[in-house]
Symmetry: C2
Amino acid sequence: MGRPERRTVRDVRRGNRAMLLRALYFGGAASRNDLCDATGLSGATVSTMTGDLLGDNVLVEAGLVDSDGGRPRVLLRVNPEFGFVVGVDVGETQVRVELFDLDMNERARALYAVHSARHDPELVARHILVGIDSVISEGGVSPGQVLGVGVGVPGIVEPGPDALVQAETFGWQAVPLGAMLRAGTSLPLLVDNGAKTMGQAELWFGTGRGTSDTVVMLIGSRVGGTIVTDGGIYRGAGHAAGEIGHLKIVAGGRLCKCGGRGCLEAYVGAEAILDRAGVVADSAEEETALARLLESRSPVLDETVELLGVGLSNLIHLFNPERIVIGGWAGLMLGKSLLVDIRAATAANTLLQPYKTTSIVLGRLGPEAVAMGAATLVIEQFLQDARFPAPVGTMS
Amino acid sequence: MGRPERRTVRDVRRGNRAMLLRALYFGGAASRNDLCDATGLSGATVSTMTGDLLGDNVLVEAGLVDSDGGRPRVLLRVNPEFGFVVGVDVGETQVRVELFDLDMNERARALYAVHSARHDPELVARHILVGIDSVISEGGVSPGQVLGVGVGVPGIVEPGPDALVQAETFGWQAVPLGAMLRAGTSLPLLVDNGAKTMGQAELWFGTGRGTSDTVVMLIGSRVGGTIVTDGGIYRGAGHAAGEIGHLKIVAGGRLCKCGGRGCLEAYVGAEAILDRAGVVADSAEEETALARLLESRSPVLDETVELLGVGLSNLIHLFNPERIVIGGWAGLMLGKSLLVDIRAATAANTLLQPYKTTSIVLGRLGPEAVAMGAATLVIEQFLQDARFPAPVGTMS
DNA sequence: GGAGCATAATCTAAGCCTTGAACAAAGTCG
DNA sequence: CGACTTTGTTCAAGGCTTAGATTATGCTCC
């Protein structure tokens, strides 16, 4: 049973401060009065709270705005340079490390190619650690200003201080990536599945923006996803929820790389689509190959749309989300020309009432958003308590 | 984005009081000191709070317990007669109205047979209203002591004061059951899907007890379910989440009553199993027919288990719940002899890490739990604020 | 240019809430 | 009967939000 925690009068402050900070972060610059409306707090509280936050340098003033015939309002905003966050994308072909300010402006970037055959955990960890130092110095910030590091990896991340990673694609079994990184840096660290980090990016800055019950389906070579309930990523009991790629839509169907049969990924992932169409393409050529397939209007695509509709139908029947965002490079490519058909295929497989309340849209962000999304994990924690230095990072 | 609400110092009290009440309701009788441990609150707070609640008659003393060599502790418990709740089950063949005290002891019952062909909404509403009056007087309580009425209906219930019900089985389209009942009673009213109310019963009093991320799958003639995240029923954006019966597991497969193809219900619901086995049975005979099929070890059952495993796999991959409870009369019947096979079929279709963290168990409650679960909806609200008379019931 | 007005932000007193610590209550044991 | 143990209550202190009063800062109009 979801045990609510004991609350003291100080939690009230913490909660309200977080709410105010969120309003300012997602709503942009606002006056103290605007914040009263946005948060429901009284002017007095907003006044003292913003006073604190200005004093801590978390907020800065952002100009004046005339108010017809009265004292002009002072706009406040989150200080984008209050702190910085690092986002890491551990991908098939490269490790990508980026430094962002709080506005998610990229300040520095470091890329390390990895051979897709050889994903030595040690090597990956070394790349990440070197990358962190590199972007921090290149970005011209001091390590003390960095709020934390978010890392997006393929596969399932078990919670705990070690952040055990199970990534079949890499041949990783229980790789304690968290522990390995912690040995080389003292920055707060958050490790999560790359599809989840990207999903959070779509939720915060993409077409998922403003929703609180959302499913993000990411279709690349393979298929992943993020399930958002109540404004936050749903992770389930063992942090393995949201494995949309392995949703079975054809009992006993095509063999999937996971060893199972009939997974969504085995039909609508780019790799699977090309395979089903009889196209031979290595991972570097997939993108052009899929584009060519789309031009040719291959009948395989009709089937793909139909099966994707079935998958989306399942998501709607189980979650009835406000919005489903289809992203990932292949998802965007398919959606660009076939979104109408995808919606129709979904409608045909879904009960009317839940279908009506769910909208299906395309994502806005490309694969580079994995690192950005990973960085938002850190920002999420920052918005939670707005303290610095942040409390020691716990694995998520 | 899940907007947290503004909090004032009074919300602290409300929240802590609800927590204390929940601890007492689900944990049974406890001393004030026990409550300190259970809630994390200080002795002073527990003392004043229990003082209030005793004064309001929400709690009562429940005897003394020796404490080796010190003042004996006074046990406190929720007063089962502080208030009463009514639970209604609108089923295929009957409308069932029951009165419970807060300990969920049944105090009175009223049954009204309905012809399965003719589910006139007016008639059903009349049965419910008459039933409410009947159980209240038969139970010997005054209407003023009734905290509210929970109603479980088939189909999807749209939120709002009207509680529009979409129930294909009954041929109901947007029946404003909430409005119809409100015209005849002033008691707070909560209408929800019957599978959800029964799921909550399993969560509170069945094998789901103590978990907070749980999926309850109910297999009767048809298939329904409840998804519990964070200790509460997940309803999604349009209150249509958890339609487990219409999860597609065979794209383009058997036709389902919903008009779609390949739904789980079209394979593992009792009606579907019998149909697939070529057995003709009307709804009254289904139970014995399925029992006979089980005895005969029909090969249809192997297929059923396999497909059920696929369905469960989907639930695990999406939710990674702590526990999956299989209930409903057919579910219990199947599970009794085939649970091991069902688990094996699920494991074969599921990634290892999420499978490991999810346990699959049988439910404990029978179909009569729909009404009880409906009544718990009212209790849930009561535990939330422990005020009486309860705030005017909002539809859930 | 100054008085009056409008809007924004801050200050103040009051009312709740939890807490630790002191205190009262109610037993056991020798 | 007195020492000891455990349970439960009372009280002053410190935090919090709020409504309302007050101060700050600009505009408009004569």
